[in-house]
């Protein structure tokens, strides 16, 4: 075996690659996303993606950097399910910053220490600008969501006109309410419901409706319809919760079910677990639909040759018969008969399994009016176990009376047969009123959109989940970023001044201060890029115009007095309102946009981690390289 070390000749090639990769993903930033096609030239297949994570997942990693990026995004996505675009963008923007620094002769060590200082400033600024809310003030609605929705709209209009009457300056509008709630501890504790106490006292009865809906609306980032589903899911979930006070959104009890063929506005949220049944199972369903059913849960496959994880099949086993086999039924059939007999003895009508069932088994079960539902998540099984008193088992032969649960009901969710005869039948499995399982049914008439729709739903659901878990929100639409830019620039200025002040002291110190100030400016530039890109993506603005608006806002802002909420929202506004403060009807409907605190913090930090790793890497050690293959590599 031979090995190679790629040469240093292209200096900092990793940073260039990272920034180039990030640039191709710019169109996924912000609320207005554009779809991208990824085409495989060899197979001719293509995929439609609408998120940064999805795109990276669909690309084949060709070098160490690709792998590193993929790994970082996967890790982030696994926990947060949102924010990958921001992560990637900043990784690109800050690798540009590092490249600029290197070009100006700043050493890697200094870049790292300066940028670490920068991220601390940013994270601190983020913490300062976060809006914390007290869990007890977020009370869920017990009302139907239709009512909630209409009241929300009217409320926000009222609130807006009230506010704008008081001051014609739009910039003061969002900040006004929050100022009153400022308390001395540094964190601004606000009660979201108070927003409306101010305006009219008879609205008291409606706070509860507003609270979560307000958070959700702020976090929807123009995916309003999908966010509504998430809110609904949460409301259905909490309906069963005895505790009236604040409950976080339990995302593990939410399922999605994608239906192709219905228009998108048919999407909705249903209590219980919705599964799609086909062909022969449909008749079993019709037989069972009004009854209270006994349920068995199997964690694994329902087939005779399935063995649990970790089981090793004997390799050297031979079967020897002393007489020619004449028995008609195979082993499989024997097994199926045995299991079906057991199921019938126990009176089981419904089997939920995480794996798949073999064909013979399904046929036999159907013949005996037992419904088999396959490919469920284990968390769903666990939920059924809790609500029905059943015990999940690995093998059907383990089933006994104590494993079987009762009280499950089947119902047809919606009859789609009029649309198309061949469609799958959506059936809801529920355990009466006490189930916390919620299914979001996502529909679209364009099949390839379903995946991105599902992605968006999960992104919204997780945003809501994180907000309620953090009990905090971050002013969005570029406001937090601008606040961070202010802080970075302030520190950069301070470093520059320190340098000129201290003339006779250690020269090394002054050089460091100068470099720090340069790097902080470059980091701020990266954030500036982020804001302008979002603005460009979401509107008719040109890059120059976007920059002018942002820098105009930055100049008028006083770091010492203000906080992030004092900035006007840049991104969702159109040009006219951002420049002048003309009241337009479009403006009246603008909602305040918020982001997640922990997601943003983590994404920024991970972006910088990625840049640091790439920045500090000067070579690649590849083992098992053929000497003739690689040309730009050095062989050991």
């Amino acid at each position: 075996m031979l090995k190679s070390v790629t040469a240093k000749e292209h200096q900092y090639v990793g940073l260039h690659k990272l920034s180039a990769l990030a640039r191709t993903l710019h169109s996924f930033i912000g609320p207005q996303k554009s779809y991208k096609f990824i085409r495989d030239d060899r197979s001719g297949e293509s995929a439609l993606t609408c998120s940064c994570f999805c795109t990276i997942q669909n690309l084949d990693p060709t070098c160490a950097l690709d792998q590193l990026v993929r790994e970082t995004l996967q890790e982030h996505e696994k926990i947060y399910h949102t924010g990958s675009g921001c992560l990637m963008f900043l990784a690109g923007a800050w690798s540009n910053a590092a490249l600029h620094g290197l070009r100006q002769g700043i050493s890697i060590t200094q870049i790292i220490s300066a940028m670490s200082e920068g991220i601390e400033i940013c994270l601190d600024a983020i913490r300062k600008s976060a809006v914390f809310f007290n869990g007890n003030d977020v009370i869920l609605s017990r009302r139907s969501t239709a009512a909630a929705h209409s009241s929300r709209l009217s409320l926000s209009k009222k609130a807006f006109s009230e506010a704008s009457n008081m001051s014609s300056n739009l910039q003061a509008t969002p900040a006004k309410v929050y100022q009153q709630a400022q308390n001395g501890s540094g964190h601004r504790q606000i009660k979201l419901s108070r927003y409306f106490c101010e305006t009219k006292s008879e609205m008291v009865s409606q706070f509860e409706t507003y609270s979560v809906a307000h958070i959700a609306e702020a976090l929807s980032h123009r995916c309003d319809n999908v966010m509504e589903l998430a809110v609904e899911a949460m409301q259905i979930q909490s309906r069963n919760n005895q505790d009236i006070s604040f409950v976080p959104f339990d995302i593990t009890k939410v399922m999605t079910c994608v239906l192709f063929g219905l228009p998108e506005d048919c999407s909705c949220v249903v209590q219980g677990c919705i599964v799609l049944l086909a062909d022969e199972k449909v008749s079993v369903f019709h037989h069972l639909k009004t009854k209270h059913l006994k349920v068995a849960l199997v964690n694994g496959d329902l087939s005779h040759n399935y063995r649990h994880l970790g089981f090793k099949r004997p390799a050297g086993m031979q079967h020897v018969r002393d007489q020619p086999g004449v028995s008609g039924s195979s082993r499989e059939e024997e097994w199926v008969k045995k299991v079906v007999k057991l199921l019938l003895d126990l009176g089981v009508n419904l089997i939920l399994i995480t794996g798949v069932a073999c064909k013979v088994m399904v046929q036999h079960c159907c013949r005996h009016q037992i419904l088999v539902v396959e490919k469920l998540n284990f968390s769903v099984l666990r939920n059924f176990a809790q609500s029905t008193g059943s015990v999940p088992v690995t093998y059907a032969s383990q089933l006994g009376h104590h494993c079987v649960g009762t009280g499950v009901q089947l119902a047809l969710w919606r009859d789609l047969s009029c649309h198309d005869r061949k469609l799958l039948l959506p059936v809801s499995i529920s355990t009466g009123g006490n189930t916390e399982l919620v299914t979001a049914i996502l529909t679209s008439s364009v099949q390839c959109k379903l995946e991105s729709l599902e992605d968006r739903f999960w992104a919204c659901a997780y945003r809501l989940h994180h907000a309620l878990k953090d009990r905090a929100l971050l002013p969005g639409a570029g406001r937090t970023e601008m606040f961070c830019i202010c802080h970075l620039q302030k520190q950069a200025k301070y470093c520059r001044e320190k340098r000129t002040d201290s003339v006779p002291t250690a020269a090394a110190g002054t050089a460091t201060a100068l470099h720090t100030s340069v790097m902080l400016e470059l980091m701020a530039e990266g954030l500036m890029d982020y804001i302008t890109t979002v603005m460009i993506n979401s509107g008719k603005l040109s890059k120059v115009k976007a920059r002018t608006i942002v820098s105009g806002q930055l100049q008028t802002f006083d770091v010492h007095k203000g906080n992030a909420a004092k900035f006007p929202q840049l991104v969702l506004r159109n040009e006219a309102t951002a420049v002048s403060s003309v009241k337009t009807t479009e403006c009246a409907q603008t909602v305040e946009v918020y982001d997640n605190l922990c997601v943003k913090q983590e994404a920024w930090r991970k972006a910088l981690d990625l840049v640091f790793l790439v920045l500090q890497t000067d070579g690649e050690v590849v083992s098992g390289v053929d000497q003739k293959m690689e040309t730009d590599a050095m062989m050991l």
Binding site: A64, I79, G325, Q398
Partner: protein
């Protein structure tokens, strides 16, 4: 009829060290290792060519195993460094860089191989005897009544790998944890031979570093889908299986079994397993742990009788758990379990770390087993943190053998180099006579040795700066690339190890000639403590490994390669 295949003659390379290609590869390897050295070293992506997992590291224990060379000399050096790492963990890069520098410098100064070997040996003995002396100025005693030097030692090792990307607060947190873990594994008062305890490391991705913590006892990750959250503070009778309870047949090897088709082997083994389960329940076992998989039916049976079941423990945790519970692992399911095989565990509880659910087991009485939970934001950094943690653990343990440390930051290297140079100059004529060479030749050999040591100290700088040494204590300083003459006249700040501040005396760049002098020990100003320390035992051994490997390489006359 058998085919006769013509064999190619072996390839013989004469004097491999004079071969340009070999030298080029040695140089490449030296540059590679050099670039990784020190807290500001550069990282390398390590992967295979078929797109396997990428690790990013600057640790010799990660990079060296990935290096394969067609040159046996390189593999020789690699193997001896790896061998050193496996015993001492630390100073792998030091050994590699020093060894390769010795070879390169000897060739550059056209020193005869035989002479180089003799002088290297002599210089090595000068170094080791000096390091053992009581008045050695680059050695620091480790005082176990104070944690300061231990903390510094741990901190230096943790900072030495930049891929961990730790902030100062995080470094402090991890080094405090390491020292605490080290102290916890030393039994307080046990007469007779002392057995050190163990620290088990568990890693959790995605949590901030400051969430890392130490726990007494063991934390075992549960892969359990069936939630069991029963915690109890009472003593639990424990059994530990090292055999698989998955219900599969024992390893057959290459043999075959002939069986009747009506015979269900799976069922028969399951019966046996249930028999075993019955005995466990009868013997009032409350915790059943298996290294491998347990059959779900057996699990169900045991659970229904109130036994806590843990499967897929893994090889690494078998020994610590055995110590903790005081059990003997059961290796078969075909015999009755003797009552002596049972152990005891106290305080069972579950803990949640990010996505991992862990079962926390504690010993009944004092068993020096503890668990370190290491957290970091992403896998790359966590992997490196784990490497560093193990290294710190080992180095701290080495201090029990020899309670000393060496000054870090390149100061030991420059100090030793100045000492060897001075000593060599002083005793040139008599030593040269002893080595049967001319004093000039001997001094050239000494120069090669000193230059190589200096080279290691210079490797610490990666940003284009230069290295300097003061002409009084012979400590090491780095001068940044954009510092001007006046800046340097103003002072250089603290030396590499943080013991000497800006001695106004003269200094010299490390790659220039200077008149020999006797490095003076630091007197009086003991108020300052070193901020960077290296492991004494590891470094002394690394010195020896480097010199002996270099000598062996210098001694190679022919490389014979069978190309068939």
């Amino acid at each position: 009829m058998s085919r006769v295949e013509k064999k190619a003659p072996s390839v013989c390379t004469d004097l491999p060290l004079n071969n340009a290609e070999v030298c080029e590869k040695l140089h490449l390897m030296k540059e590679l290792l050099k670039s990784c050295y020190g807290p500001r070293g550069r990282l390398k992506h390590v992967r295979n060519n078929i797109g396997g997992r990428v690790t990013t590291s600057s640790a010799s224990s990660v990079i060296l195993p990935a290096l394969y060379s067609s040159q046996p000399l390189l593999n020789l050096i690699k193997t001896s460094v790896l061998n050193h790492i496996s015993r001492f963990s630390d100073c792998g890069l030091f050994a590699g860089v020093f060894c390769l520098s010795l070879l390169e410098q000897a060739r550059r100064h056209e020193l005869r191989e035989s002479l180089a070997i003799k002088v290297n040996k002599h210089c090595l003995s000068l170094c080791t005897s000096y390091l053992q002396r009581d008045d050695c100025a680059c050695r620091v005693k480790i005082d176990f009544s104070s944690s300061q030097n231990l903390m510094t030692l741990a901190g230096s090792i943790i900072s030495s790998k930049p891929a961990c990307l730790l902030t100062e607060a995080e470094k402090l947190h991890i080094s405090t944890m390491a020292v605490r873990a080290f102290l916890q594994t030393i039994p307080c008062s046990s007469p007779g031979p002392v057995t050190l305890g163990q620290t088990v490391t568990v890693t959790v991705r995605g949590l901030p570093v400051l969430d890392s913590a130490m726990f007494p006892g063991l934390l075992v990750e549960t892969h359990d889908d069936f939630n069991q959250t029963d915690s109890s503070s009472e003593l639990l009778r424990t059994v530990l299986f090292s055999t698989s309870l998955a219900g599969d047949l024992a390893e057959l090897g290459d043999g075959t079994i002939e069986a009747d088709p009506n015979l269900d082997t799976d069922l028969q083994i399951l019966d046996q397993l249930l028999e075993l389960g019955k005995q466990l329940v009868e013997d009032e076992v409350r915790l059943c742990v298996c290294q491998k998989v347990i059959h779900p039916v057996l699990q169900q049976y045991l659970r229904s009788h109130g036994v806590v079941v843990m499967e897929r423990l893994g090889m690494a945790l078998m020994e610590p758990l055995g110590t903790l519970a005081g059990t003997q692992p059961v290796a078969t399911l075909h015999a009755r379990i003797p009552s002596t095989a049972y152990g005891r565990v106290k305080n069972l509880s579950t803990k949640q770390f990010g996505f991992k659910t862990m079962l926390h087991l504690q010993a009944d009485g004092e068993a020096a087993v503890c668990t370190a939970v290491l957290c970091h934001r992403n896998e790359t950094m966590l992997d490196e943190l784990k490497v560093v943690w193990r290294k710190t653990e080992d180095v701290l343990r080495l201090t029990l053998k020899e309670p000393s440390a060496l000054l870090g930051g390149g100061c030991t290297e420059t100090h030793l180099s100045a000492y060897v140079k001075h000593k060599g100059q002083q005793e040139a004529s008599e030593t040269a006579a002893g080595l049967r060479c001319s004093p000039a030749e001997f001094l050239l050999g000494v120069k090669v040795f000193c230059r190589s040591l200096d080279m290691v100290a210079r490797s610490l700088e990666h940003d284009g700066g230069s290295s300097a040494m003061d002409l009084n204590h012979a400590h090491h300083w780095t001068v940044s690339a954009n510092a001007s003459e006046e800046d340097m006249a103003g002072g250089l700040g603290l030396c590499g190890c943080g013991l000497v501040e800006n001695s106004s005396t003269e200094w010299t760049f490390l790659n220039t000639e200077y008149a020999e002098f006797c490095p003076a020990p630091l007197l009086g100003d003991s108020c300052r403590k070193p901020t960077v320390l290296d492991s004494f035992t590891a470094k002394v051994n690394a010195l020896q490994v480097a010199v002996e490997t270099a000598n062996l390489a210098l001694d190679v006359r022919y490389v014979i390669k069978d190309v068939n």
